[in-house]
């Protein structure tokens, strides 16, 4: 039933847009195999869902798997620019891959719309007119967590993250807003799976709260072990460790944890509601943060295509800057460095029937911009 209605709108939309738009070729490089493939698959599915719903046949999407290897990503980017002659690129999940690919893509005059990674270097001095970030600057969610910690009257946080650049950015972001003292600050090994030693330190530190950024399997391991350790300090973290994709694997250990996100499936607006329903209908699972980012990225692109030809770079850029699309997040606009100015929400992990998910309990930061825009000179 639902699918049929969608198909009908698609045909309708096709008739409306095909007359005006110039065909746009999109190159999507994302992680589809190996560890972390779940994120790339969600971004891809969200993006393609939006394209399908638009019914716009003037958009061609080429999807390639970067295997989470920077060198593969760089070469795929070369291929898409040189051989496929794409106009717009998107899809990269990881900051280190983004740093490898984006500067050269934008230098070659292509547009890049980031559906996930937002390294600080590309928000500040390394910003580029053709680079747009539709997700967040890397620090944003951590800053939101810091702000929430103040709100929740946390005075002595114990903070930890893996020992790599994004981890350092995370702790910096948290500290930027957090006003209390630190009970401890730890960099763990990247890929670490056992946190017994860190948990013992947390227990002994006299902390009143814990902030952590441990993406992927690291976060699952940490939360399970945290619960098992019997420490019952409040935990706060960015949405990455509490996302739909991995929440089921964490289980009860995540219940009640506060996490910060620019998106949640219960954000009350029509676009989001329709997105969650159609995503579930199409793929048979609840959408994740990453899926929403992929979906928004595609809609941003479609909105620009409706206004300008991609061949006219200046007009197309201006159209993108307007961000005239309905975001699943509600309020969305770009700052001067082409990074989002948006609300960062606080969510709590709950159980709906058998499924673990999040519900919004408040807003940590309203119309929040990143800390680097002043350094951006374009």
């Amino acid at each position: 039933m639902k699918v049929m209605t969608m198909a009908a709108t698609a045909v309708l939309a096709l008739g409306l847009t095909s007359a005006q738009a110039e065909p746009v070729k999109v190159g999507m490089i994302t992680t589809l195999s190996g560890g972390g493939a779940g994120l790339g698959i969600d971004v891809r599915d969200g993006f393609l869902l939006a394209v399908k719903q638009s019914g716009n046949s003037d958009i061609e999407v080429i999807v390639e798997d970067d295997q989470r290897k920077p060198d593969v990503a760089v070469q795929l980017a070369d291929k898409m620019v040189q051989s496929d002659k794409v106009d717009v690129m998107t899809g990269i999940i990881w900051s280190n891959l983004a740093m490898a690919v984006i500067p050269s893509v934008t230098a070659q005059g292509k547009f890049y719309l980031s559906p996930n990674a937002g390294p600080s270097a590309l928000a500040g001095k390394g910003c580029h007119p053709n680079y747009f970030n539709v997700a967040w600057q890397n620090d944003n969610l951590h800053e939101g967590a810091g702000a929430y910690a103040n709100f929740a009257d946390m005075k002595k946080s114990f903070i930890l993250a893996p020992n790599y650049p994004a981890g350092k950015d995370a702790l910096t972001g948290y500290k930027r807003f957090y006003k209390g003292d630190l009970a401890g600050e730890i960099y763990t090994k990247l890929g670490q799976t056992d946190y017994a030693a860190e948990l013992a330190q947390i227990r002994a530190s006299g902390a009143d709260s814990v902030f952590f950024f441990l993406p992927g399997g690291m976060g699952i391991s940490f939360l399970k072990q945290y619960k098992d350790s019997g420490i019952d300090l409040p935990v706060v973290g960015p949405a990455f460790s509490f996302d739909q994709g991995i929440l089921q694997a964490v289980g009860d250990a995540a219940l009640g944890v506060k996490n910060t996100s620019q998106w949640s499936k219960d954000i009350a607006n029509e676009t989001n509601k329709a997105f969650v329903e159609s995503f579930q209908a199409e793929y048979g699972r609840l959408p994740s943060l990453y899926a929403s980012q992929g979906f928004d990225t595609a809609n941003l692109l479609l909105s620009a295509m409706a206004k300008a030809d991609v061949s006219d770079a200046d007009a197309f850029r201006a159209a993108l800057e307007e961000a005239d699309f309905r975001s699943t997040r509600g309020n969305f606009k770009f700052g001067p460095n082409h990074h989002p100015i948006q609300d960062i929400h606080v969510r709590e992990v709950i159980k709906e029937g058998d499924v673990y998910t999040n519900k919004i309990i408040g807003t940590a930061l309203t119309s929040h911009a990143d800390a680097y825009w002043a350094e951006c000179d374009m």
Binding site: S33, G34, G35, A37, G38, I41, N163, K168, A183, G184, E185, I186, Y187, T188, K189, L190, G191, T193, D194, A196, A197, E198, A200, Q201, R203, A204, S205, G206, G216, G217, M218, I220, S221, K224, Q225, K227, D228, S229, G230, G245, I246, Q248, A249, V250, G251, D252, A253
Partner: protein, 316 residues
């Protein structure tokens, strides 16, 4: 060092003991993984890079069965059975063709098996991590003498690990299979002379090693993330363990595992603290953490430079 740390305020003797306990527990988990690896090398002379995949298979079997039945115990049994079955199958189809080949071919072939197992698992179970939790009767902390709060499950892991170690010791020293295994380690011709079916013995030993890995995967999976690729980091650690202990030696594997467990755990805590004597806290944390992540490899290189065949190794 202890005094210095005490001076920093939040390091106490209790904490130190707890961390040593953590190191031991981690070491014993590594031992479960390393025992199978070293057994397989000792008897068949095979370097099995795919051992980590069997660990992963164990965890996935446990998660799937525990998810369906709600019983952690059934999950563990499934892990043992699943990994042993996968091990026996792989031995029959691929591994037995590798015994006569050199290490180079073994490395490449078992590397290929990793690719097949990892992507195959992802194909079956999808790209998202699975759920496997500590059973209720083992969850939460208990209080040890001296007021140490320690998770019951981790204590159980220590006990199970030691029990498996003891079981292996008895198996090898007291049973008929053990006699055959020891014969296989020392003299291949002797096995034939004893009238033992070598092919069958090898399949059994490989399945046994696989079952140990799968068992470890299931036990660890309950407090970690059950996901594709979970086996590789552990595999490398297990190799570090058996190389330090001396390849083929179960005793070496146990001692190597405890050494690696303690080095890794205590290094992660103390190196950043030590660095704080020389640098400002933030730099110290960062440098100390980098050194800590290299610590076990430095340990291994140092052991090999001093004892080129490991601590208890007989042959190179």
């Amino acid at each position: 060092m202890f005094l210095m740390l005490q001076g920093r305020g939040f390091m106490s003797l209790i904490l130190l003991i707890e961390q040593i306990l953590n190191g031991l527990q981690f070491g014993i988990m590594l031992f479960l993984m390393a025992a199978g690896l070293t057994l397989i090398f000792g008897v068949m002379g095979l370097i099995n890079l795919a051992h980590g995949s069997l660990y992963m298979i164990g965890a996935f079997c446990a998660a799937a069965v525990a998810g369906m039945t709600g019983s952690f115990l059934l999950g563990l049994i499934a892990a043992l059975a699943g990994a042993a079955l996968a091990g026996a199958l792989v031995e029959l189809v691929v591994i037995r063709r590798l015994y006569r080949k050199d290490h180079l071919d073994q490395v490449l072939a078992t590397f290929a098996l990793i690719l097949i197992f990892s992507e195959g698992t992802r194909w079956i179970f999808g790209s998202f991590p699975l759920f496997l939790d500590v059973p209720d009767y083992l969850s939460g902390p208990i209080t040890l003498p001296g007021g140490i709060q320690y998770p019951l499950y981790r204590l159980a892991l220590i006990v199970i690990g030691l029990a498996v170690g003891l079981g292996l010791y008895l198996l090898i020293s007291k049973t008929r299979l053990g006699v055959q295994i020891r014969a296989g380690e020392n003299d291949r011709e002797m096995i034939a002379a004893l009238g033992i079916d070598i092919a069958k013995l090898y399949t059994i030993v490989f399945a046994l090693g696989a079952a140990l890995a799968g068992f470890a995967g299931a036990l660890v999976g309950a407090i970690q993330s059950v996901q594709v690729g979970m086996g590789e980091p552990v595999l490398i650690m297990a190799f570090v363990v058996i190389v330090i202990g001396g390849i083929g030696s179960i005793k070496g594997a146990l001692i190597g595992a405890l050494l690696v467990g303690l080095t890794d755990t205590l290094g992660g805590i103390f190196l950043p603290e030590v660095m704080k004597l020389f640098f400002d806290p933030s730099t110290a944390t960062s440098i100390g953490s980098s050194l800590a992540s290299m610590a076990i490899y430095v340990l291994m290189a140092a052991v090999l430079v001093l004892k080129p065949a490991g601590l208890f190794g007989a042959r190179a």
